[in-house]
């Protein structure tokens, strides 16, 4: 029924690390929620079901908990229904998870021959006999990555995560997406093991595109939680790049590099869990105080909410992959693993990997821009609304939650070797070679890359030296005992007000303009001109909306198609009210004729004859003449 190997346990640890701070936060947040019973019931079931998924030992249990997880998270999104958007988001989320579930179901059914209470390991034998393993691989991709939020199945994330209460967003984004990745890893390793090279490339490409798309849409977002949700897409992309590299190296029998890349991916899974949970908690605290998700209405919160601001800053540095944070370390590892592609002789790979490097680097740059925006606009400057002015620090429990999560982030930064040793053990249990000794040949100070000519990073030394130098500088400043005077910000002689600050829209302006081909943004500009002067106006309003490309091209159109088909089906079905006898007549004709043709002496001639007869008969008897 249940399975407790290293892979499972690592994810159990991930879930626990993600949920324990969240519990504190959640109880602090509870006063904000109206339907407490509903919330608590689903909240705990949700956590429990995630634990169930990662420890499930057979397909039946796995699918059961998987669906319970979807069900409860869906209900959690519906905890606070304030507008139609939430309802829409919840529906969209649920149908998307169901979409994934369909593929998972198919995968499991094929891989178990229908005995879904079979142990995972036994599935490998069945899969080996299945003639189309790539089909199974794509089922896994569709099934798990749609839940994890990789492009192009990411569309639900920016809707679902903002709609949920903040502790739940933190859990969904921080933990649930990782549970999906657990499933992906589990079945790739345990069931579909020898991977063709192409699979790895597919994952690499999906990862690269996800990371870019995620960060680009995040930049154009003004809803803080949607922004964070888009960043989850980006980070899932980064994880998948690592994962894809691992798969590629494994197919090329570069065992050490493969393990290294996988470790990078798993490390980033943990990192993303920690800082994304922390960010969502911070966003939740801000939302709790200001009652709005729009960052244009924040501003200056660092003064009233110092703790939130500090933890948010910590997480921002980490998610922007700036040294010496844990986010930097995992991204560094992923870059290093790509550097290992030096010895590969495959030309298509040689073209795919630079692209991935480019995507990852671009993502890094844009992520910094995005978090400067998110942090700067919401926490710095002047209050942009009355709500922001009246904000104050959140209650003790919520603070505890954030501090605990910040400690998790710190621990990932400080105890990197410990975590990596753990991932290393896990990969050994998954029949990979160990790289721990190669990564830390001379103690825990330096982390080496296993790639040929790879680099070295020393997180602790880096941290210590940065802290040391900064403290030294601060100390020197104190020693100098500089006279300090407080005055207004210079505003060209005008008074500096909330309105003179740069807005989030303005901040992202240059980037938005550069990527306009992707955004296809829809601008609304309105100004009250004075005396018909172009440049003089009393009041101006500027709004810009980004068109979600994937949503319109993939989802809206498929809904349109369903609508169209259902319209015709509906029209056809209504013939039965008046022509039921004719319907049955034709049905009988069709069934008997087909029995005669297909099950007794088939020939094309009679088949054509049948078709003609059926068409005539349906036309004459059912549809009839136009009046």
């Amino acid at each position: 029924m249940f399975l407790f190997d290293t892979l499972s346990l690592i994810f159990v640890a991930l879930i626990l690390l993600g949920t324990i701070p969240n519990l504190f936060y959640s109880f602090g947040y509870l006063s904000h929620i109206e339907r407490k019973r509903h919330y608590l019931l689903h909240y705990f079931t949700f956590i429990f079901s995630m634990l169930g998924v990662v420890t499930a030992g057979n397909a039946l249990v796995f699918l059961f908990f998987w669906e319970v997880m979807s069900l409860t998270s869906w209900q959690l999104i519906l905890t606070e229904v304030e507008d139609k958007e939430t309802i829409k988001a919840a529906r969209f989320y649920f149908i998307m998870t169901h979409f994934g579930f369909v593929f998972l179901l198919l995968f499991f059914l094929i891989a178990t021959d229908g005995n879904i209470d079979m142990h995972f390991v036994d599935m490998q034998g069945i899969v080996a006999l299945f003639p189309y393993p790539t089909l199974l691989f794509f089922m896994l991709v569709f099934g798990f990555l749609s839940k994890a939020g990789a492009v192009p199945f990411h569309v639900w994330l920016p809707y679902a995560h903002p709609a949920a209460p903040s502790p739940v967003s933190a859990l969904m984004s921080g933990v649930m997406l990782k549970v999906a990745l657990y499933g992906f890893a589990r079945f790739l390793f345990d069931v579909l093991y020898p991977w063709p090279l192409e699979w790895g490339i597919v994952i690499l490409v999906i990862g690269s595109i996800s990371s870019l798309v995620g960060v680009l849409y995040a930049l154009s977002e003004h809803d803080i939680k949607a922004l964070l949700a888009n960043h989850s897409i980006e980070n899932i992309g980064i994880i998948l790049i690592g994962f894809g590299m691992g798969m590629i190296f494994d197919s090329l029998h570069l065992e050490t590099l493969s393990t290294f890349a996988f470790i990078a991916a798993f490390f980033h899974i943990f990192n993303h869990m920690s800082f994304k949970s922390l960010l969502f908690m911070g966003a939740g605290s801000v939302l709790h105080q200001t009652h709005t998700k729009n960052i244009e209405h924040y501003g200056g919160l660092i003064k009233s909410m110092p703790l939130t601001a500090f933890t948010f800053l910590l997480a921002s540095i980490s998610i922007s992959a700036l040294p010496p944070s844990n986010g930097f370390l995992s991204e560094w590892m992923i870059f290093q693993s790509m550097l290992g592609s030096y010895n590969i002789s495959d030309t298509s790979l040689k073209l795919a990997i630079p692209f991935a490097i480019f995507a990852l680097a671009m993502t890094g740059g844009l992520a910094i821009a995005c978090f400067v925006k998110a942090y700067g606009i919401s926490f710095l400057g002047l209050h942009r609304s009355d709500n922001a002015k009246h904000a104050h620090e959140v209650n003790f429990l919520m603070k505890t939650g954030m501090v605990l999560m910040a400690l998790v982030v710190m621990s990932l930064m400080l105890f990197t070797p410990f975590y990596i040793g753990w991932f290393d053990k896990m990969l050994i249990s998954l029949h990979h070679v160990s790289v721990y000794d190669k990564m830390f040949p001379d103690g825990f100070w330096h982390m080496h890359s296993v790639a040929v000519h790879g680099g070295v990073v020393s997180p602790l030394i880096l941290l210590a030296s940065l802290l040391g130098v900064t403290l030294l500088l601060v100390f020197a400043y104190k020693v100098l005992d500089v006279k300090k005077r407080v005055y207004h910000t210079w505003g060209c002689g005008y008074k500096t007000t909330a309105k003179t600050q740069y807005s989030a829209t303005g901040f992202a302006g240059p980037i938005r303009r550069f990527f306009n081909w992707l955004y296809k943004s829809d601008e609304h500009f309105h100004k009250e001109k004075i005396m018909e002067h172009e440049t003089k106006f009393s009041d101006a309003h500027y709004e810009v909306h980004v068109k979600p490309l994937f949503e319109t091209s993939l989802y809206v159109n498929s809904k349109k198609l369903i609508n169209l088909v259902s319209y015709w089906v509906y029209r056809l079905a209504h013939f039965e009210q008046t022509r039921y006898a004719a319907m049955i007549f034709n049905l009988m004709l069709l069934v008997l004729f087909s029995y005669r043709i297909f099950f007794h002496a088939f020939s094309w001639a009679t088949f054509v004859l049948e078709s003609i007869v059926m068409i005539i008969s349906i036309k004459v008897l059912i549809i009839g003449d136009k009046k």
Binding site: E67, I87, L105, Y580
Partner: protein, 469 residues
């Protein structure tokens, strides 16, 4: 034993002629009696010959009868407060019970029969008696639909009989007069001299049954009927009458499996997919509860048939049981939901306060979510096992990719239905205006019975029983 089984029905029949004011309560409680003999039937050794070779109780049909009788009780309970939701005369009430008694007798015959002829007679009896139940509603629509039902039902039933005679004709040369006996026929199916004749017969029987269950192309007629009639009738239709049909399908297809499995599978597979295709899109467009639920009933029947022919006996039976409990429960709750503010989905679940109200909306939500196979609904497990059986069949066929594609299509179609139900559920719970609504104890108890039935299905002992069939 057979007397015991029929006795409750006869009592109801007799009581329905008494013109007392209290009689309708008495009738409701009399209908509780139908459960007792079925429980007794469980205890008997199987197969148990009730009436020579004509009526034989085995594990399969006892299960189905048991499920049906629980459904019957639930419906009878809900009937107690029918007049609180709709206008119904005392006379109509008694008539309803009179025909319910006949219906039940027909049902016992068709479910327990081991003879195609008896099966058909029981089915016809049950069908004809329901015609009149539809008419308890005095609206014009109900009248029209009763006629519709009469005619279409009659055609379907005649087709079944026609097919039965063909099958009989095909088997008579080897079995003589006993060719109508299901068990014997099953045992000698391989010896049938003209399998083609048998298959033609089987095709006609299945077409009849499929029409009766609302498969392609007659998808809307059941929905229309259930829309027009009172909700307990709809509950009976979907909960019990369809069980009688599907049990026949089980038996016939079992024989057909022996004759030529590939033909049977291809036929049912294509037919079911066509059905679900149409039904999925119809569901996507429905705007009221009754049609929604009855179309989803069609979908589930198609799935059950599919699971059965794919060899997923356990899945089919579990799905059947779950469906038999869920659908009547939903129809009954529809009656409550629609009693105020007809046809309004938005906000239908809101405004139920107090202990009763909370329990009501909670149960209805559970049923709604269970019917789209969300765990821990039994349907979740049955679909898993059922699709598993299908995949298994697909793997042994020569058209693996085509079959997988078809199964995938099926799952996509089910997702469309899923989408609609989620949409409906959310709109019921979170949209629309909220105002005070009322629910009565008897309905709640009925719903509780169905909920308990569902829980009962998931008990390990039930599952082992089902696996043993």
């Amino acid at each position: 034993m057979i007397e015991l089984l029929l006795l409750p029905a006869l009592i109801i029949f007799g009581l329905s002629f008494v013109k007392s004011k209290k009689v309708h309560k008495l009738l409701a409680f009399a209908s509780f009696l139908i459960l007792l003999p079925t429980i007794a039937l469980f205890e008997l050794p199987k197969p148990y010959h009730l009436l020579g070779d004509y009526l034989v109780a085995d594990t399969l049909n006892v299960y189905i009868l048991f499920v049906s009788s629980i459904v019957g009780i639930g419906v009878a309970l809900a009937l107690l407060t029918l007049n609180k939701h709709v206008r119904v005369s005392r006379k109509a009430y008694r008539r309803f019970y009179r025909f319910f008694a006949i219906f039940w007798i027909g049902l016992i015959f068709s479910i327990l029969s081991n003879n195609m002829g008896i099966y058909w007679i029981g089915l016809e009896l049950a069908t004809l008696s329901t015609v009149y139940m539809i008419k308890t509603n005095h609206s014009n629509a109900a009248h029209k639909e009763a006629w519709n039902y009469m005619i279409v039902g009659a055609i379907a039933i005649s087709l079944i009989l026609f097919g039965i005679i063909l099958i009989y004709a095909s088997a008579k040369p080897i079995l003589g007069e006993d060719a109508m006996n299901f068990n014997l026929l099953l045992a000698h199916a391989k010896e049938i001299k003209s399998p083609f004749l048998f298959e033609i017969g089987f095709a006609i029987v299945s077409v009849g049954m499929f029409v009766k269950m609302g498969f392609f192309p007659m998808n809307l007629w059941l929905a229309n009927i259930e829309r027009a009639s009172f909700y307990p009738v709809a509950a009976l239709f979907s909960g019990i009458l369809e069980s009688a049909v599907i049990v026949g399908f089980f038996r016939f297809s079992k024989i057909a499996m022996e004759v030529n499995y590939d033909h049977l599978f291809t036929f049912v597979f294509i037919y079911a997919i066509l059905t679900i295709f149409i039904v999925a899109f119809l569901i996507f467009r429905t705007k009221d509860f009754m049609r929604l639920f009855s179309l989803s009933g069609v979908e589930h029947m198609a799935l059950i048939a599919l699971f059965w022919v794919s060899g997923g006996t356990f899945a089919a039976l579990l799905h059947f049981g779950a469906h038999a409990f869920l659908k009547p429960a939903l129809f009954l709750s529809t009656g409550v939901l629609e009693s105020q503010g007809k046809y309004k989905i938005a906000g239908a679940l809101r405004g139920y306060t107090g202990k009763k109200g909370t329990l009501f909306w909670f149960l209805v939500s559970l049923f709604l979510l269970a019917v789209i196979s969300l765990p821990p609904s039994p349907m979740f497990f049955s679909e898993l096992y059922g699709f598993g059986a299908m995949i298994d069949t697909a793997k042994s066929s020569h058209h693996l990719l085509a079959m997988l594609g078809a199964i995938f299509l099926l799952l996509v179609l089910l997702s469309i239905i899923f989408y609609k139900f989620i949409d409906v559920y959310q709109s019921m719970k979170y949209e629309g205006k909220e105002y005070q609504k009322k629910v009565y104890a008897s309905e709640l108890i009925a719903l509780m019975i169905f909920a308990l039935g569902l829980v009962g299905l998931m008990l390990p002992s039930t599952l082992t029983y089902l696996k043993g069939i």
